[in-house]
Symmetry: C2
Subunit: 195 residues, 2 copies
Amino acid sequence: MQKTIQKRTLKTRARLFTAAEAVIEKNGYEALRVDEVVQAAGVAKGTFFAHFRDKDELMEILIGQKLVACFDQVEKGPMPKTALEIIDALEPIHSFMTSERYVFDLIIRYSGATAIAEIGPIAMCFERYVRMTAVWLESAEVRGDVSADLLAEGVQAFALQSMSLKYCALHESQSFRDRLEVYLNAWLNPIVQKT
Amino acid sequence: MQKTIQKRTLKTRARLFTAAEAVIEKNGYEALRVDEVVQAAGVAKGTFFAHFRDKDELMEILIGQKLVACFDQVEKGPMPKTALEIIDALEPIHSFMTSERYVFDLIIRYSGATAIAEIGPIAMCFERYVRMTAVWLESAEVRGDVSADLLAEGVQAFALQSMSLKYCALHESQSFRDRLEVYLNAWLNPIVQKT
DNA sequence: ATCAAAAAATGACCGCGGTCAATAAAAAAT
DNA sequence: ATTTTTTATTGACCGCGGTCATTTTTTGAT
């Protein structure tokens, strides 16, 4: 069973990516139309779907790339030690995730791997989010009664909750940052009187 | 500015609902097609969109109805006192929310009110989730350093996180219930040594 | 009862994502 | 160099959600 990939294929694929990025640059993610991309790339519509399962797959790749860049940037910075520092450290990631409603929805939808075989780029970022945060929490000034991994998953849960509420008119009085700060203080530094 | 609603309107609307429910009963939510509904209801396609902004609006209403029924059932039961009892009490709600991938995605997408003016049925359920849980937590055996409202929002965040992971192949080893139990124990009953 | 105005229903039509049998181009076999 | 086989590309076509000018029905005024 051979499967030689022609170099023509790579060229076509590259042109599709370039075209898609240009289209997004102009009008954002939501407004992207497959027809516009293939026209800009100078290929037929069918070719698009020979390279990507569906429009979402292209989107997942492109958004995943940007997300990875955000993570790289965040990991270059210094290790945060407190809840507030963690929030600030994660800011570039959260900022991109909520840059467009369409982007946020797509990220949520693809945050889980459908099959173990194929973990998509966004699902990988969600894994990375927890791993990275867990490392921070390992040596941060936080509660020690539960594992850093568990704490990290909680941080993710609260960050997602805060981002969701950002799109909710009922809660727009409080800013994303303030809300997440309240959550994380309560999650990472509970003050409990022993009974 | 008058706007008399004819009783014909209500009849048509009712027929659309009945037809939609029948269609869903047969093949589930995801497979519903507007064409199938209007045919079953014996009306033209345009009529559908005179009654509902789009297909999602109908779905939101139907799924919202079911959700409300779940809440009513849950509120009939006894007040849970512990993390575990809370998980069990909420089970009917979580169960319906994850009954179909399509249903879960739609619920997430409409969990926030787009505009304050029109709070959709699902957004109302999300409010109700927190209100109800907060009342429970008011008199439950849980930490007292933060408000019951905040604790309730956390419960919601962790429940959503657990549900999301249910659809993630990378985390399917742990069951929804076990995962949520770990989260809620850490959230509601932290054990911290005073420094 | 008659007629004008408001409300509701209609269905041909459009946009856009996605398919697939036919065709072209490249690689391998001769 | 020629044929065969594999791989890529094409574009007409389809499904389905959603629109809108036109028609039908209802209502309220005379």
